[in-house]
Symmetry: C2
Subunit: 302 residues, 2 copies
C-alpha cells in the first residue's frame, strides 16, 4: 500500500528533481507529474525523463494529484500555492520542502484556504543547483522533519511521514516554530557565517584573491562549499526565518567576542578548553552516522 | 641527487608521521630518525616502523642529521630548538611545519643562534591527530610555503624547497610576515569561526544537543570537522599569530554586522549579491584543484 499514487512536483531544482528520482527508484508505480516556472528547466526535465508528464501550467500539473510537493524557494511558496488553488483536488495533500516552516505554514494557509497542508523539510542537499544536480539517494539516512500545522489530521500527517520513509529518510515531527529554531542553529547560521567569511576573504587588499584560492586547503575551502549554495533559496531563508536567525547570530557574536578577548589577553586555557569541547561534538556526529568519519571528509588521497 | 640523506623528525603526530611516511615512499634511501617527547608516541612510532631509529632524547636524534624538521605545536618550537642546540651539527638545516612563521623564526633564532634555520609550512592536514593518523600522500598536490628569514643562504632555501617537491608538494617562498597574514584569512580565521559556532550550538537551551547532532547535515557538520582539529596546536596558532588573527576577525565582524543589518531590514538584494559572489569563489577553488568538485564533498551516496 503506497501512501500516494499520483505525485506532483512543482519546482524542479536540486531537491524537486531528487524527489522525482527517489520516487521513481522506490515507488515505480506512482504517476509523477512535474512543473517549473522556467521553460528551460521544463525542457531539461523532459529530456532527463524525470516525470511521466511535465505540464505547461501549474494548474494542469495538479488536477489529478493526491500529493503536491512545492519545491520552490520559501519566498515563492505563497505564489506557488496561489497558482494551483483553482485546480487543486479537495482531497489532495499539499506539502513542501522549504528550510523554514512557520512562514511557509502562514503563506500556504493564506494562499490555499481549506486545503490540507502538511509541510515538511528534508534536511539534505548539496552545493549544486538545478534539475541535473539531483540524485535518487539524496534523502537516504537523512532526517526529514514534518511540521503539521495545529489541528492537522493525524492520518494526513502519517501519509506524508510514510512518503518520506519510502524515500529512505528518518522522519520526525515537530512544531513549525521549534523547527525554525533548531534549523537556525544547525543550518541557517552556519550558512550565514560561511557566506560572510568567503565575502571577507574576497575583499582583502594585501592578500590577493589568488593567494586565498591557492591556500584554501588550510580550512577556508570547507566554508566555500556551503557558501556556494543557491543564492535565491538562501536569501529567502534568512528573510523568512529572520527572528530566529538574528537571535542565533547574537549568541554567536557574543561567543566570538569572548574568544577574541581570550586571544588578545593570551588566555590559552580558555581556548584549549573550548577546542577540546568542540572535538567531542564532532565525535557524536560521526557516532550517529550524520557524517563521514574519513579524514578530511574523505577527499581523494590518490 | 637527493636534497638530504639523513632526516630527523621531532614530534611524531599527524604531520611528523606523514612526513616520515612520505620520505619513505619518495626517497627510500634517506636515513630517518624520529623523536617525540611522549614515550607512548615513541613506542607507537617503533611499532609502525616509521623510522630507522627512534631515539630516547632529542639530542641523540640530531647528532648525524643534515635536515631536522620540528613537527611540534608552534608554542613548543623554542623549547624543541633549545633541546637540540648542543647536539646539532653545524651544517645541518633546521626546518619546521608550523602554521605561523614570524613567531617561529623569532623563537628558533633565539634558541639556535648561528644555526641554519629555514622554516616551512605544508598547507595540509586532517581533523585527526597522532602518529597513526598520518599518511604518505598528505602533501601531494598541496602547497608548501617556505619562509626564509632575511639573509638566508639561497642554496639552503632551495634544498628545503626541493625536499617538499619530492614529497609531492607545490612550493612557494614568502616572507614570514606575509605568510602569517595569508594564513590568518585562509586558515586561522576559518578555524576560529568553526570552533566558535560549534561552541555556540553546544550551549543552546531550548534546542537540545541531540537535536543539534541529529540535524547537523543542514550545514553545521561541515564546521565540526575543522573544529575537531588538535586543541594544543590551535591554541598555539592563535596566540602566536595574534595580531593578524585579531585584524582578520575585526574585518569579519564588520561584514557580519552588515549582513545582520540586511536581514533585519529585509534587504534581499544585498544578500543575493553577496551569495552570488561567494559562489564564484568556490568555482575558482575547484578549477585550481584545491578541492574536490564532487557534490557534498563526495560524501558516500551508497
Amino acid at each position: 500500500m503506497l501512501p500516494f499514487s499520483r505525485v506532483t512536483i512543482i519546482g524542479i531544482g536540486l531537491i524537486g528533481s531528487s524527489v522525482a528520482r527517489a520516487v521513481r527508484a522506490t515507488m515505480p508505480s506512482v504517476r509523477l507529474t512535474g512543473y517549473d516556472a522556467d521553460a528551460g528547466v521544463r525542457e531539461t526535465a523532459d529530456r532527463l525523463e524525470l516525470f511521466d508528464d511535465v505540464t505547461d501550467t501549474p494548474g494542469a500539473s495538479v488536477t489529478d494529484a493526491d500529493l503536491v510537493i512545492l519545491c520552490v524557494p520559501v519566498g515563492a511558496m505563497g505564489a506557488a500555492g496561489a497558482a494551483i488553488a483553482d485546480d487543486l483536488p479537495a482531497d489532495a495533500i499539499v506539502s513542501d520542502v522549504g528550510s523554514c516552516k512557520a512562514e511557509v505554514v502562514r503563506a500556504l494557509a493564506e494562499a490555499l484556504p481549506g486545503a490540507i497542508v502538511i509541510p515538511a523539510h528534508p534536511v539534505a542537499g548539496t552545493e549544486n543547483s538545478g534539475p541535473e544536480a539531483g540524485f535518487a539517494t539524496l534523502f537516504k539516512h537523512r532526517w526529514c522533519i514534518v511540521t503539521p500545522p495545529e489541528g492537522a489530521a493525524p492520518f494526513a500527517v502519517e501519509r506524508v511521514c510514510e512518503f518520506w520513509r519510502r524515500l529512505g529518510s528518518d522522519v520526525e515531527t515537530m512544531a513549525p516554530d521549534h523547527h525554525d529554531r533548531v534549523l537556525a542553529i544547525t543550518s541557517h547560521l552556519p550558512h550565514l557565517i560561511a557566506y560572510t567569511i568567503v565575502g571577507t576573504a574576497s575583499d582583502m587588499e594585501e592578500v590577493t584573491q589568488s593567494e586565498v584560492i591557492k591556500y584554501s586547503a588550510g580550512g577556508f575551502r570547507d566554508f566555500t562549499r556551503i557558501a556556494a549554495s543557491d543564492p535565491t533559496m538562501w536569501r529567502d531563508v534568512f528573510l523568512s526565518n529572520r527572528e530566529a536567525v538574528l537571535d542565533m547570530l547574537q549568541r554567536f557574536s557574543e561567543d566570538l567576542s569572548a574568544l577574541q578577548r581570550a586571544i588578545r589577553w593570551g588566555k590559552g586555557d580558555e581556548l584549549f578548553d573550548l577546542f577540546t569541547r568542540t572535538r567531542a561534538v564532532r565525535r557524536s556526529i560521526i557516532d550517529q552516522g550524520q557524517d563521514d568519519p574519513a579524514p578530511d571528509f574523505g577527499r581523494t588521497r590518490e
